[in-house]
């Protein structure tokens, strides 16, 4: 059974239609990449999948039930979201931030249990953040902060991990490190859906690709079926070659400098 089933959904900010008659199914246990030009509705689609925005028409089924029928609390236990970089103005320690990922699992007035503490500890180690525990998050660099925010989403321990350009602030090493962590979570029960600007990163990590244009799905399916010069030419208006790379072990894209009208 499909994890997500989107049936002819539409969404608009005021008069501006952003998602236009879009249908899509997402299956469990894959690393999905969403690519598309700026303004093609990628972030809005992520917000709709997270339940943060509600569709105007059409419906989204999640795990056999209408997404809108889930309580926010239930969704928070099943879907985590890592947004684009966001400045935090208060001196929370990194440990406090990561612990916020456990809030949906802890009753309102209860203290974190031993398992919550153990999960947070192991995530600091896994995410290469040892030594950051007591540092105030408002004094970190953008990249460090983004890694802490990502660690927070891992602590949430959800079935679905939504990444909205989560690596846009990171250097190459930390980008690879973060996507490795996400990739390691993908298994029979965990699904990652990532908006990526860099098609080469998408090619390295995703096994399924969703290519958006003007609020609609232009193409979706396996990486190999979507990532080809024709798609890139139509959607991004650039000339590109897509060739398997022995070095990365995946398809890699190279562009020409020429910009199509």
């Amino acid at each position: 059974m499909a994890l997500y089933d989107l049936d002819r959904i539409e969404f608009a900010y005021g008069p501006k239609t952003v998602i236009d008659d879009l249908s899509l199914t997402i299956e469990e246990g894959h690393f999905y990449g969403i690519i598309g030009p700026n303004g093609s509705g990628k972030s809005t689609l992520i917000d709709l999948l997270a339940g943060h925005l509600r569709t105007h028409t059409g419906r989204i089924m999640f795990d056999g039930r209408a997404l809108a029928a889930y309580s926010r609390k239930d969704l928070a236990r099943r879907i985590a979201l890592v947004p684009q970089d966001f400045r935090i103005n208060f001196p929370y320690t990194c440990r406090e931030i990561v612990m916020m990922g456990r809030y949906p699992h802890i009753p309102r007035f209860a203290r974190p249990g031993a398992d919550d503490l153990a999960i947070v500890d192991s995530i600091f180690e896994e995410a290469d953040l040892l030594g950051f525990e007591n540092r105030p998050v408002n004094q970190l660099s953008g990249g460090e902060r983004q890694r802490v925010i990502f660690a927070r989403s891992l602590a949430q321990a959800t079935d679905v991990l939504l990444l909205d350009e989560a690596t846009s602030n990171l250097d190459m090493r930390h980008t690879v490190q973060l996507l490795n962590l996400a990739s390691r979570r993908v298994n029979a029960h965990t699904t990652v859906i990532a908006v990526l600007q860099d098609v080469n990163l998408a090619a390295m990590y995703c096994d399924r690709l969703i290519c958006m244009r003007k609020g609609q799905i232009f193409a979706s399916g396996s990486l190999e079926s979507v990532l080809n010069p024709e798609t890139l030419k139509t959607v991004f208006k650039i000339d590109a070659r897509v060739l398997p790379s022995a070095f990365t072990g995946s398809l890699q894209v190279s562009f020409s400098k020429a910009v199509r009208p």
Partner: protein
């Protein structure tokens, strides 16, 4: 391996003091300040007598105060305690609503007045004083101030909502616009007021003089339930610091929580302003200082801010009432002390963050 275990252990303990300890110490300090303040003034009253009078009032045992000058219990119960409790409650109310405004507006420099609530209250009070409205007796000016504050809040929320977004930036901008218009209105009223202008200026500077048990009751009915609401939503308020999208994905309805807390915080500050006039810097400074002790977690910040706000404003009011040779308006005292303290903290923070 053992070394690693050690580091996680110290990390777990963290660098924050235990909340219960801080609350108990601050509560004891507040009681001490209340007792000292009740004893000091034009008529000095020994602490033991203060305790006796309060005990007599609570238990109804007249024997406890039989030996005392009959005037002393009157001074304590009818003059000093109402003023002292009003000052403490207003201090609490301004401090917790300040902390909540800072949390909603994602800005540690916001205060209960950022959204123009004080400008609205000042405008309302000025109108009441200008037209010499006395229909509600002693409640005439506070009633107008309260209505002014609420109308301002509604205007700000309306302006923000019509921008399509409910973000902190939109709220702050709407607040500044509305406050600027109202300040011009207050200036115009002062210009029109002729001989009333002195009364308006005195009201605007804030005072706890001649407060009664009615004001204690009114402030308490706003501040105490308000604090309970804030504590209930304090964990959700923490999540708002991560931005509304992330907060939403962690199980919080960001818009609903912001609006609820915004309305409750504004009600508290409107009541505080209506009762005591405009007292600046408490709402800005107290949460800021308390964060040094408790950290930014609102579950710890809010209860401690409530106590520290009460202690500081009561201490300031006691200084102006009982220590200074002539009573200076409390709003002037808080601004004169709070302003420089704030500049110092702000400057220190800036230099630390530049690194």
């Amino acid at each position: 391996m053992t070394e690693k275990k050690k580091t996680t252990l110290t990390v777990r303990r963290g660098r924050r003091l235990p909340l219960m300890g801080v609350v108990v110490i601050m509560a004891a300090l507040l009681v001490a300040v209340i007792v000292i303040s009740t004893g000091s003034g034009f008529v000095r009253i020994p602490f033991l007598d203060v305790a006796r009078i309060i005990a007599a009032q609570v238990t109804g045992l007249e024997g406890l105060v039989a030996r005392l000058d009959p005037l002393v219990p009157v001074v304590v119960m009818d003059i000093r305690l109402p003023r002292i409790l009003t000052a403490a409650l207003v201090g609490s109310g301004l401090a917790i609503s300040g902390a909540v405004f800072q949390g909603i507006l994602l800005n540690p420099l916001a205060d209960p007045y950022t959204l123009g609530v004080s400008a609205g209250a000042a405008f309302g009070a000025s109108v009441a004083l200008l037209i010499n409205f006395t229909l509600l007796g002693p409640w005439s000016v506070p009633a107008f101030a309260f209505c002014g504050a609420l109308a301002t809040l509604m205007a700000v929320i309306y302006l923000t909502a019509s921008s399509g977004d409910f973000s902190s930036g939109a709220l702050i901008l709407s607040g500044i616009i509305v406050a600027a218009i109202l300040s011009a209105g207050v200036s115009f009223i002062k210009y029109l007021a002729d001989e009333q202008v002195g009364i308006i200026i005195f009201w605007l500077m804030g005072s706890f003089a001649s407060k009664t048990w009615a004001e204690v009751g009114l402030t308490a009915t706003a501040v105490i339930p308000g604090l309970i609401v804030f504590l209930f939503f304090s964990r959700d308020l923490n999540l708002l610091a991560l931005g509304s999208r992330t907060a939403g994905s962690l199980g919080v309805a960001p818009r609903k929580i912001s609006l609820t807390l915004l309305v409750v915080a504004s009600l508290i500050s409107a009541v505080c302003v209506a009762v005591s006039g405009i007292i600046g810097f408490v709402g800005l400074l107290v949460p800021h200082m308390v964060r040094f002790i408790t950290g930014p977690d609102n579950r710890r910040l809010l209860p401690v801010s409530a106590l520290v706000g009460a202690i500081l404003l009561l201490a300031a009011d006691t200084v102006t009432r009982a220590v200074l040779p002539q009573e200076v308006p409390i709003g002037v005292i808080t601004a004169l002390i709070g302003g420089p303290v704030f500049c110092y903290i702000y400057r220190k923070r800036q230099t630390r963050e530049v690194r």
